[in-house]
């Protein structure tokens, strides 16, 4: 299982890498939405992407929209992990094609439970 962590903060990527790593995922990191798309075009296509919203170059919403426009990537599970927590933003992200939404700050348990909800049953305890 490959998870892609997309966040412009290296500290946040490090936190998420540890959490999903402990749940049994291989982890690849990207610092913005465009880097993530480039990695995927190079063949690093994850089963799940954890996506920040506010990032330089291409933001998380733009990334979700791009992934959803590509037929061959329709099976990728997309989970926003962002400090954007207004009701309207959550609705926008879901409408664009995100499956789940975690609000920063979060605990490791919250990530594990969301992954369980998304059907990554083997990974959550």
């Amino acid at each position: 299982m490959l998870a892609m962590v997309i966040d412009d903060s290296r500290a946040m990527r490090s936190i998420l890498r540890r959490i999903v790593g402990e749940l049994g995922f291989e982890v690849v990191e990207a610092a913005d939405g465009q880097q993530a798309l480039d990695l995927m075009d190079d063949g690093q296509v994850p089963q799940i992407a954890l996506i920040d919203w506010n990032m330089p170059v291409l933001d998380g919403l733009g990334f979700v929209t791009s992934v959803r426009s590509r037929q061959e990537w329709r099976d990728i599970t997309l989970m926003m992990v962002t400090t954007e927590s207004e009701h309207g933003q959550i609705v926008r992200a879901l409408a664009a094609g995100a499956h789940e939404y975690v609000i920063k700050p979060f605990t490791a348990d919250a990530i594990a439970e969301k992954l369980q909800l998304l059907g990554f049953a083997g990974v959550a305890s």
Partner: protein, 157 residues
């Protein structure tokens, strides 16, 4: 014109406490207001623009920022580079700023964080409309929510 920010002191304390307990598994305690800003202060700020315009600034000491980065990166302090320190404190400012932004009733955008060393150059920080003084692991911590009055005045006139 700026929307009035409905956030109360207690709310800002809660936000700060939630960030520290969830991301760092550390408790914050209330602390007395700073008498002066130490020369080794590190500040990270995000700007909010839209229905409300202003900044949310997180300040701590050099040692505090180092500890914070060490915890978030899960690395020993002597392996933390200056850029790691800025990244970690910037992310904390992003999260606190995002939580503040989400209490606004209108729409607004959050800037990417910027980090400064030394007494902050954002004018009037000590007179911020809303300010929480706290401490964690004996490190000083100050969170300020600051109206950008220049913007609101301009739009009013």
């Amino acid at each position: 014109m700026n929307e009035t920010i409905m956030l109360e002191h207690r709310d800002l304390e809660d936000i700060v406490s939630q960030v520290w307990t969830s991301l760092m598994a550390q408790e914050t305690a209330n602390a007395a207001p700073w008498e002066s800003v130490a020369s080794d202060v590190v500040a990270a700020g995000v700007a909010i623009s839209g229905c409300w315009n202003g900044w949310v600034v997180v300040e701590t000491s050099q040692q505090g920022a180092l500890d914070l980065a060490s915890t978030l990166f899960d690395l020993p302090r002597d392996e933390i580079a200056p850029s790691d320190l800025a990244d970690a404190l910037g992310e904390v400012a992003n999260i606190v700023g995002g939580s503040v932004k989400s209490t606004l009733t209108g729409t607004a955008e959050l800037s990417l964080p910027s980090v400064e060393h030394g007494p902050s150059t954002i004018a009037g920080l000590s007179e911020a409309s809303l300010q929480v003084h706290a401490a964690w692991q004996s490190h000083p911590l100050r969170i300020s929510v600051l109206d950008d009055n220049s913007k609101s005045t301009k739009e009013q006139s």
